[in-house]
Symmetry: none
């Protein structure tokens, strides 16, 4: 199953609330299981450059079915996936992208968040993921 | 002034309602006055190829501050703007993109809708525009 | 010889004055004999989508050493250069781009203007060309 | 408020003067608050490859509302934003890009300078910023 728009908008709403709570305006993107954009929101005052980063984090998380920060560890100089960011018209491999699963553990999409420090991006993305039932 | 996320989400919600009413799942994109993506929603079952078209329609409407269908009339073979679609990494010049103005008539962004016949796309976009106060 | 920055800025200044006279805010681009961007100005209120069009008109005029409108006649459906706009990351083949020559008739660059009707674009571009000594 | 063409041209003029003073021909780009190109100048003898770098530096500074060199510190191997340059069709994250603010401190655009050593680029960009009133 694919993520529904209702689920995607619930994820965005939860992420927005967390972002407001920590006072960091964020870009929030949701892609479906085909890594195609499903929903997006740029909070007022959020970085323009993070539109593309949020979308790429969501895509990257679904492309490899893992959190973007995990890929980033493998793509450091000297490591196995060094340079992987050159594929797919550009990956983003630092934290803030997380796969979204259904109740049975099947991946139905992914969320990407960008606008703060990467730990903040990841935390806000987690809140989005947890809002998907 | 730029369109706010609250205004953008109100536009998407109104467009979604109209799309549901005419029973055509749509992609709906909102850009701000700088033609940067502000919000997006792909309704369940809407065409994947219309993600990019909806975004390009919104961008095109803001790039030239007019409805996309108006540009399309001028870009037909033999007309003044023939071939304009080759600019800006691709324009979409058939109906479905409309500038969004504030109460004083200043353009604050644009909406782009894609997923049905172009008259349907335009009608749904109009409902989005009218929801912005 | 290549166009100098002084010449390019003189061309932009003259084009700006003409644009103000006819009350149409314009995007004005100058490329050198290598078709590389030399100078650019977007007048306040000019279309965002015309940034790229002005640059592409200047490039196109220098790529083929003729006015862009001339190429546009040849690229209409059924004509010899139909589809040429697909080359070079996108050409613009309607009026507004003109080669710039030195006093001996050698091409040293080109100007591209976009923001009004194509006749206006061409007229403003002509004023720019004539300002280059 | 967006940067005006008058402000943008004043910034370019001041940057040009500084570049002439230190005897390094530069590419100088100004973008507005939507990260769209507003004005540009390539000084005679400046590197062709720096046209794109100057524009990308200006865009990058506005995308993240900080000096490009600051982002570059964060994007080194092992640091939080490693690989961010793969977003937005290519960022430039070494010094030479600086946001431009109005008198109230609101960001109205950005400048990007490229053509010399990065410290020179940054110094020339600073002179451009300071010329905007």
């Amino acid at each position: 199953m694919d993520i529904t728009l209702e689920q995607a908008q619930a994820a965005i709403k939860a992420a927005e609330q967390k972002a407001r709570e920590i006072n960091v305006p964020m870009n929030i993107a949701i892609v479906d299981s085909g890594a195609n954009l499903k929903a997006f929101a740029r909070m007022d005052g959020a970085w323009l450059g993070s539109v593309d980063i949020a979308i790429k984090k969501a895509e990257t998380a679904r492309y490899f079915d893992m959190e973007t920060g995990e890929i980033g560890k493998l793509s450091q100089p000297g490591n196995a996936l060094y340079g992987i960011e050159h594929s797919n018209d550009g990956l983003i491999t630092f934290p803030g992208g997380i796969p979204i699963k259904d109740v049975e553990g099947k991946i139905i999409g992914a969320i990407g968040v960008s606008g703060g420090q990467v730990e903040q991006d990841h935390e806000v993305a987690s809140f989005g993921v947890n809002a998907v039932k």
